[in-house]
């Protein structure tokens, strides 16, 4: 079953994606609801799993992380390597922010953050290329990124 949203839910979600730190009162004023009614709606969206969680938005460059690289990874020696072993090892690397199991040209998509290109090279050589089952790796350096509102 998928959650069904009305127009007010959609507006709330759009506002919360921009800034989740707003109080229920402030949000309510923008969508024309009372503070308790807004709070109840947010609770319902959380309980339905529509809001999966909250995230702190940090400026990576201000914290010294100047490079983000996306890797397409193929798993070699199929059958002899357990995907669970690869997944366990890759999720233990602090610089790896995202791991997706995908179907297509690659088996996994990784998002890796590093201080600069030489730091990225260190992560790639020491941590990525030593992963169990690692095969071909393709790297693309992120230049710009924008999150869209999506079909809300």
């Amino acid at each position: 079953m998928s959650a069904v949203l009305d127009e007010i839910d959609r507006r709330l979600l759009r506002l919360l994606r921009e800034e989740a730190g707003q109080s229920a009162g402030a949000l309510g004023r923008r969508v024309g609801l009372s503070q308790p009614a807004t709070w109840r709606r947010i609770r319902r969206l959380e309980e339905a799993g529509v809001i999966r969680g909250r995230r702190l938005k940090l400026d990576p460059a201000a914290l010294g992380f100047g490079v983000t690289v996306f890797l397409g990874v193929k798993i070699g020696l199929r059958g002899r390597v357990k995907l669970e072993d690869f997944e366990r090892a890759v999720t233990a690397i602090p610089e790896v922010q995202l791991v997706e199991h995908v179907l297509g040209l690659y088996d996994y998509r990784l998002r890796v953050v590093a201080r600069d290109l030489s730091d990225f090279e260190r992560v790639l050589r020491r941590r990525i290329m030593t992963l169990p089952g690692i095969g071909d790796v393709e790297a693309n350096v992120l230049l710009t990124e924008e999150r869209r509102p999506g079909p809300l």
Partner: protein, 151 residues
């Protein structure tokens, strides 16, 4: 410049953005007043840009997630800009990224099911301008999506 105290506060807040100031202060081993001041300073400096909710598109019925990796036709001078502007008009596109590498552009697309994806791909994606080549990666499972920095 950030010191160890800032880093401790950011680490705790990054792991749990909904912490109250007293909880944050306790975990970062500072007084609540000091934690509040530090957070305010980090916000003013733009290190903390804010907080956002993470939406589970699958819970809303958007179960198919595809990464479209696009190579851009380089003949037109403003090809990439025009392609991005057109992609912004497709509501099902939830992320737009540009790259240095073999791939120029990635669009993250959500669809209700495979039939819907097929329709979107045919009617909204293949009709975008200046596309030289597209490769699709279908997400089977998200193993980690922390988006956290190793502070």
């Amino acid at each position: 410049m950030l010191d160890d105290e800032d880093r401790r506060i950011l680490r705790q807040l990054q792991a749990e953005p909904t912490l109250t100031m007293p909880e944050l202060a306790e975990r970062a081993r500072v007084t609540p007043a000091r934690a509040a001041r530090r957070v305010e300073k980090l916000e003013a400096a733009g290190v903390i840009r804010g907080r956002e909710v993470v939406i589970d598109w699958a819970a809303l019925g958007w179960r198919v997630h595809v990464s479209l990796r696009i190579t851009v036709e380089k003949s037109a001078p403003r090809a990439l800009d025009e392609l991005i502007a057109a992609a912004r008009k497709v509501p099902e596109v939830i992320e737009i990224q540009t790259f240095l590498g073999r791939v120029d552009l990635r669009l993250a697309l959500v669809a209700r099911d495979m039939a819907h994806y097929q329709a979107l791909y045919r009617d909204r994606i293949l009709t975008l301008p200046h596309i030289a080549d597209i490769e699709a990666l279908l997400t089977i499972a998200t193993i980690r999506d922390a988006d956290a920095l190793p502070l």
